[in-house]
Amino acid sequence: MEIAVLIKHVPSTESAVDIADGGVAVKTDGMTWVMNPYDEMAVEEALKIRTAAGGSVTVFTLGPEKSVEALRTALAMGADTAVRIDPEGKSLDSLGVARVLAGELKKGAFDLVIAGHRAVDDDAFQVGPAVAEFMGIPHISMVIAEEIADGRIRCTRTVEGGTLVLESPLPALITTQRGLNEPRYASLPGIMKAKKKPIDTRLVSTTGTDPGEPIVRVIGLHLPPVRKPGQMVDGDSAAAKAASLVRALREDARVI
């Protein structure tokens, strides 16, 4: 089983996010950068499948030099090879990223592509399905369980209010959802070994895929409206506090 995993290097969810001068980007200094949490699940699932079915796991990222750290983490977890596509300072939108990744994936012979269902920075939910579309293969999103047999993958995916069990022939692309697995921590020997593994670095301009001009652009970032300081509800007993609260919710806020 040849498996490709798409990963992104993102600010950790613990990070507070500030707007940089110019108003269209975030301040990146001082942030902790990690592999996108949903992509960690993708790497973990790929490693599990490799254990069961053999084959290899190749991780791909499209990002600047710094994003090599996410690839190292994936290698330390146990991935076999890592590819970084350098955007050469060019700004790509989600479709551009998906086009380039799909182009590189088509050069291999992957049975399965796994991606996070979204990256926790842009929250675009777009690259995974778009890569599948550009590759001309089926996809199943937000997978919380999978099983592979006889060239087919059977997945449980989440939808509002429940789950669907879907089956697709391989090759296919799936995206991960929380609940699929608990990603392993990289072992110290794994980390040491990962440092020595080569990274296959490719330049976007030499991939043979034109990412296209961005057709979606951020013109401004702002903070969400700040909630006015709240009021503490006092009272002599739990019952008294509850009575004041419910009165306020009913008469002032009008939500009950």
Binding site: P11, T13, A16, I19, V26, Y38, S94, L95, V120, D121, D123, F125, Q126, G128, P129, A130, A132, E133, F134, P138, S141, I144, T158, E160, G161, G162, L164, V165, L166, E167, S168, R178, I215, V216, R217, V218, I219, G220, L221, H222, L223, P224, R227, K228, P229, G230, Q231, M232, V233, A238, A239, A242, A243, L245, V246, L249, R250, A253, V255, I256
Partner: protein
Amino acid sequence: MAQGVLAFTETIDGVLKQISFEAVSTAKQIAEKIGGNVSAAILGTDGEKMAPQAAEYGADRVLVAQSPHLDENHIDACIDAAAQLINKTDPAVVVIGATARGKDIAARLSARLNAPLVMDAVAVDAADNGAITVTRPVYGGKLLADVQVSGTPAIIAIRPRALKAISAQAAGEVEMVAVDISESPVTLVAKHMDTGKIELTEADVVVTGGRGMGSGDYTVVETLAAVLGGAVGASRSAVDEGWRPVSDQVGQTGKVVSPNLYIACGVSGAIQHLAGMASSRVVVAVNTDPEAPIFSKCDFGIVGDLFEVVPAITAEVEKIKG
């Protein structure tokens, strides 16, 4: 030239979901600025029955895509049908709900049509000259991004409950459109729906239990949610403890909720959790720790033991509701 706005509806077991009306209303507001008609699309042969409802929210025309392979559980079929309706009607803007299924459809459509996509829109502002600025949360809601797109159709996937459904009766002329759907490689094996459970992202009221619950016994939270007609949520730590399923998690790596009333019980208020509940209209927090960060992000706070306070709130609500 591309003109007008096409709104995709979403069905579940033969009825239109609320997000459908939010999509049609958003389409109408955009069309009022950029001109052209409002069309609503219903995917599935049953659509004819549902067409009058779409008209109530401002659809001048209702396109019903017909094919035996078409229903909400076959996403590929929905994508094929949607692409054909777009090619046929050439809209300037497409509006679709950013639901689990809607996100899939929107993302693949965008790639297939080379059309710009704005995911999870929470506000749409169309200028008289036709320029559209869409606002969407990024970094799990810690920031909002104003986005502009080039090219048509502009696909705007709207976050459930973020934009209002407003009644506005229109003609709703029904047009049955035969679509050519090839059999999907992805087949449905089984469907498991939680009967009677209110979906967090669609709920009017959400009552969340955090680490302060101390165990998987969520009875006090469930009882309050039930009297308010709301859904039960959980913090990440409660999910990590195995007290609640991951589908109940509210936060940056869980669900983003936008209820009218959010009641956080025993939730300290980690930054990721605050991001997931930030778009709630009114927030109530109950916690024993007066220093808990949640108290700086709530409208009403009660310092106290949730096992005393929450049942007392339930009793008060029951008094009103009689």
